[in-house]
Amino acid sequence: MLPESIEKNMSSETLITGKKAENAIKESLFLFTLYICVTIAILTLMTLIYDVLSTGTTRLTSDYEVGLITKIQIDNPIDFLTTLDSRYPDRAGIGPAFAGTVWLMIIVITVTFPFGTGAAIYLQEFAPKNKITRFIELNLTNLAGVPSVIYGLLGLAVFVRLAGFGRSVLSGGLTLTLLILPVVIVASREALKAVPDTIRQGALALGATKFQAVFRQVVPSAIPGMVTGMVLGLSRAIGETAPLIFMGALTYVNYFPDTPLSGFTAIPIQVYNWIGYPQAEWKETASAGIILLLGLLLIMNSLAIFIRNRYEKDL
Amino acid sequence: MSLQEKIENLETDLHLMGRLVLDALVDGVRALEDKDVNRAIATIEKDDEIDAAYLKIDQDWVELMATEQLVATDLRLSTSILQASLHLERLGDLAVYLGNTTQEIFDSPVPETVHATVVEMGDLVIDMASSAMESLKNRDKDLALATAEKDNQVNRLYNSMLEEAPKIAGNEDLFNGLFRLVTCIRTLERGGDHAVDICELTHFLVTGKFEEF
C-alpha cells in the first residue's frame, strides 16, 4: 500500500503489531499485582467492619429480655448510649464512657484550637528563619511521631502527679491535647503554607501591615484547612486508648463525670475493658462499642473530607 | 499612543505633506503659466516645509517600525507611506524646478505652444498627483489604475512636444525659454511617473501585490 521508499518502514505493520504482545503480558501482570495489593488493603478493612458489625448489631438490635418484658428493638441503640456499664454483658451500656469522651473532646478543642493555630500562625508567618525556628519545627515533626504511650507517661507525671489534677478527665483531656497538638500544628501550617505567597505580597503591597496581611487575608484563606486539621486531630484523640490508661480511665467508673476533676472513662477504654472479659457475650458488647466509635469517626472524617472538598478548589 | 494611533498619525502626516506638495505644484504651474516670479519664489520657499514633512515622516516611520511589530495591512500601509513620502518629496522638487524655471524665463519671450503644453502637462500632473493621493487615502485601487492610465496622456504630450520643439524653434529669442521649458517638460514627465508610482502603492496596499502599472 505504501511506497517502499519510505524509510524506517513506517508501515502499518510496525505501527500496529510491533512489540505490543510482549509488552502486553508484562503490563497486564504488573497491573494485576497492583490490583491484588489494593484489594487486600481494602478487603481487610471491609472484613474488619463486617466482623464488627455482624457481631455488634446483635447486641444493638436483638431482642433480649430484662425480667419478663421484651424491649422494643429500636430503643436499644439509644439505651446503649445512655445506660451505665454493668456486670452483665447484655445490660452494659456505654453511657459514662460516651460522656467521658464528650468531656475529653471539649477540653481538647478549647485548648488545642488557640494554641495549635496560634503556634502554626507564628511559625509559618512570623517566625524568623533561624536555628531556633528550625529546631521548633524538628521538634514538632518528632512530637507528631512520638508513640502515644509516652504521652501517657508524660500526662501521668505532669498532670496527674505534678499538677495534682489526679486521675481526672482534665488530666486526660490535657494529655490528649499534648498528643494531638503537634498534629494540629503541622496540619495548620500546611494549610497556611498552601496559601500562595502572592496573597501575602499582594496585601503588603497594598500597604497592609504584616499583621493585617496575615490575619485578614492569609488566615481566612487557610481556615478550612486548619479546621480540617483540627477535625482529623480530634478524631485521632477520640480513638486514643493507651495514654488514657495512665489517667486511671480503666478503673471501673460507673458514673457520669460532672467536674473536670471527676474520674472518667472513655469509649475506647470501655471497649478495651470489655474485650478483656473472657465471656463470649462481651464480644457483642465490645462490638457495639466499636460500632459507636467507628460511627463517630466516620462522621468526623466525612466532615473533614467535606470541608476539604468544599474549599479546596477555591485557592 | 497605541499602534492604531501611531499609524493613523503617520498617514495623516503623509496626506498633509501631500497637500503641501499639491499646493506647491499648483503654485509652480501657475507661476510658470503667469510668469509670476513672486509666486515662483513662494513655491521654492515651500520646499523647506515639504522637506521637513518628509524628514518627519521618515523619522516617525523608523520609530514606528522599531517599537511595533507590524504585519499585513499595517505593514503594507506603513511601507506605502514611507515610499509615497519619497515620491511626494520628488514631486516637491518638481515644483521647485518649475519655480526656478519661472525665474529664469519670466522676462524672456517663450514659444506659446510649448508654454501652453507645459502648463497643460503641469495641470495633468497636478491632477494625477492629487488623484493618486486620493486613491491612497481611500484605498481605491480602481482610481489608482485610472490615474495611472492618465500618464499615457502625459507621455503622449511629452513625446509630441519633443518632436514639435525643433520645428517651432525658429526664433532665436525664444531659445532660452524653449530650452528651459523642454527641461520642464522632461521634469513633468517624471512627475507623472511619480504619481503612477503612488498609484502602484495604492494597489500594493489594497492587494498586497507589487505590480508595475
Binding site: 489494593v38 478493612l45 512570623f126 514538632l140 508513640p147 501521668l156 | -
Partner: protein
Amino acid sequence: MDNVNNLRDQLTKTITRPIEKIVKFFITASAFAAILISISIIFTLLTEAINFFQDPAVTFKGYFTATRWTPTFQNPEYGVIVLISSTLYIAVIACLISFPLGLFSAIYLSEFATKRTRKVIKPVLEVLAGVPTVVFGYFALNWITPNIIQRFIPGTGVFNALSAGIAVGIMIIPTVASISDDALNAVPNSLRNGSLALGATRRITSLKIMFPAALSGIIASFILGFSRAIGETMIVTIAGGQYPELNLDPRSAMYTITSSIVNVSLGDTPHGTTAYNALFALGITLFIMTFILNIGSDYVARKYRKEYE
C-alpha cells in the same frame, strides 16, 4: 522643600496597635510550647528513669543483657532486650505486610487508577488510617487469630506475635500508602508525560521514572511506618500477649515495650517503686528509638521535596 518634609512626615508615621502586640506575644508563646512539651517529656522520662537505675537491683548491664522482664516478680529481672526484640520482631512482621501492600497500592492509586476510582479508594484508606487501635486489637484477637492463624498454623495460642504483627501491618498500610502516594503525586506530571512521550509503557514509566523520582518520599513513608509499628500499643497489648522471655517463635505470645508499659501501669504500681520507675526507663528507650526513626524520616522526606522546588 515643604512638600518634601510633609511627605517625609507622612512616610515616617508608623502605625502600632496594642492588640497586634498582644496577639503576637500569644502566638509566639504557643510556638515555644512545642519545645516545652519536648523538654518535659525528656525531663520526666529522664528523672524517673534515673531513679530506676539508682535502684541497686538494677544494673545497666542487666538492663541490656538479662533475658527476662519480670519487674513485678519477687526476684525482678529487668532484661529490656526481651522487650526490644519482641517489639522489633512484631514491627518487622508489620513491615513485611505493609510495605509491599502500601507501596503497590500507592503506585496503583497514583499511576493507574482513574480519577473516579481514586476518589473512592483514597478516603477509604484515610478512614482506615483513623480506625482506633483498640479496634485493630479486637480484630486481631477475635478474627485474625481464630480465622486465619489458628486455621493455617494449628497450635498457635490465643495471644501470638503473628496476629499482632499482621494487625499492626494492616494498621500502617494507609500510612505507607498515603505518604508514598503523596510522594508519587509530588513528582511533576510532566515527568510522566515525558516518559510516555518517549514511547515508554506505563509499567516502565511507573517503575523506572516515577518510583525512583519519589524514592526518598517512599523511604520516608517506610521509616515512619516502622516507627509507628514500634510505638503501637493497644494492638500488641490486646493481641500480642505478655510472654516476658526471649523467644523468636511467631506463634507464641510476645511482650513489647509498649504493652509492658501498659501492663505495669495497669497493675497500679505505686508511685516511687522501682516497677513504677521502670515504666519511664522503658519510656525513654522507646522514645529514643522512635526519635531516631522520626528524625530520619523527616530528613529523607525533606531531601526529596527540595528536588522539585
